[in-house]
């Protein structure tokens, strides 16, 4: 009997850890991308990018809500009151928005992984998560359509746009590999059919992004020369995360019960 309980505990831990990783990625990147609101390169793109940033916040809220139903604190408390090292987001989402080419490349690399991840999760044995994953499908499809169209546009644009998007790819690639940092729960997640695992996801992601990047005329960094930016999933973050969280939680800290 004792063994069974322990095993279920590990399973619950594994699911919660997965949910925190997914939700924190969405929250932090959603916040980052919203920094473009009002500053986007053109009005139409400003609106589209801001709208997608809102989608990300919505996704994080749905995942925090699921965590709440599993006994964690309520979504706002989870989002706004944790210490920096309690966030499990990857380094890619933490970086400042930089120039628009960087933000677009990050958006492309990250959202391609999200679309594949949630597609995988839509057949998860953990049904509440499978249900959420199905709900995200349409939004993520648009996000990747938007991203792919832009990458093609810039890759085939002028010499300047092609060289800038290439530089952004070179900068983003090691960070993007950090999305797939394995957790200590990989085996449990895989054997319990909750999630196919980060390794499987990374493979599918490479199969999906490489043709798009090649089609846009970009050079793919050699995997063996790239060091994946790991640490985020263990709570070890870049210097950029703390200032972001300080700013994001400013209002909450002044008045935690404020209605919007």
């Amino acid at each position: 009997m004792k063994e069974i309980i322990d095993f279920n505990e590990i399973k619950t831990e594994a699911i919660k850890n997965l949910l925190y990783r997914l939700a924190d990625d969405q929250l932090i990147l959603g916040h980052r991308n919203s920094e473009w609101t009002g500053l986007g390169p053109i009005l139409e793109e400003d609106i589209a990018f801001s709208s997608m940033a809102q989608d990300k916040l919505g996704h994080s809220q749905a995942l925090y809500q699921l965590l709440h139903s599993m006994g964690e604190k309520d979504p706002d408390t989870i989002a706004f009151t944790r210490k920096v090292n309690e966030y499990l987001c990857c380094h890619l989402v933490e970086y400042p928005i930089g120039e628009y080419d960087f933000s677009l490349m990050r958006h492309f690399l990250f959202d391609m992984s999200e679309a594949i991840r949630f597609n995988m999760l839509s057949s998860s044995s953990f049904e509440p998560l499978a249900k959420i994953a199905k709900k995200f499908k349409g939004e993520l499809k648009y996000h990747t359509m938007h991203a792919v169209t832009w990458i093609n546009q810039l890759g085939a644009g002028s010499e300047e746009s092609a060289s800038r998007i290439q530089k952004s790819l070179d900068k983003c690639f090691p960070l993007a590999l950090g999305i797939f940092e394995p957790s200590k729960y990989e085996e449990t997640l895989i054997s319990e059919k909750i999630f196919f695992g980060e390794k499987a996801l990374q493979e599918k992601w490479l199969e999906a992004v490489i043709p798009v990047l090649k089609n846009a005329g970009l050079k793919i960094p050699l995997l063996e020369n790239v060091k994946a930016a790991y640490g985020g999933r263990e709570g070890v973050h870049t210097e950029y995360l703390k200032p972001l969280i300080d700013e994001m939680t400013e209002v909450y800290k002044i008045d935690s019960g404020a209605e919007w």
């Binding site: 589209a48 997608m52 169209t149 832009w150």
Partner: protein, 125 residues
Amino acid sequence: MSIKSIDPRVTRENLPEEPDQNPIKELNHWQTYEVFHQTKKGDHHIHVGSLHAPNAEMALILGKEQYARRYQCVNIWVVKSSDIFTSDYDDEDIFETTPEKMYREAGGYKVMDKINKFKKERKGV
């Protein structure tokens, strides 16, 4: 002491008096596209507005968020504004009809009497 305002409405950017004579490069020409959305399969596409985009693919991607992010929508069209052939407002009078031709308007048909009679009867029920 004078304070130099950083408000662009007060302190204007020093722009050259002669505008730049170099023509805009081809790539920088963004066009206007008209956007039409359809709320239900089979319905008419309805014009909802316009936007700027470098080509049709980008217009579609941007048009989706611009005009279909809040309301029910199943399909959108984008059409280059310059591809629309339009009548001239100077010719607006071609749409005027003379009042003597009531027979050309639905209200002039004899059947209206029957419809009104039917409506009256329904009211009585």
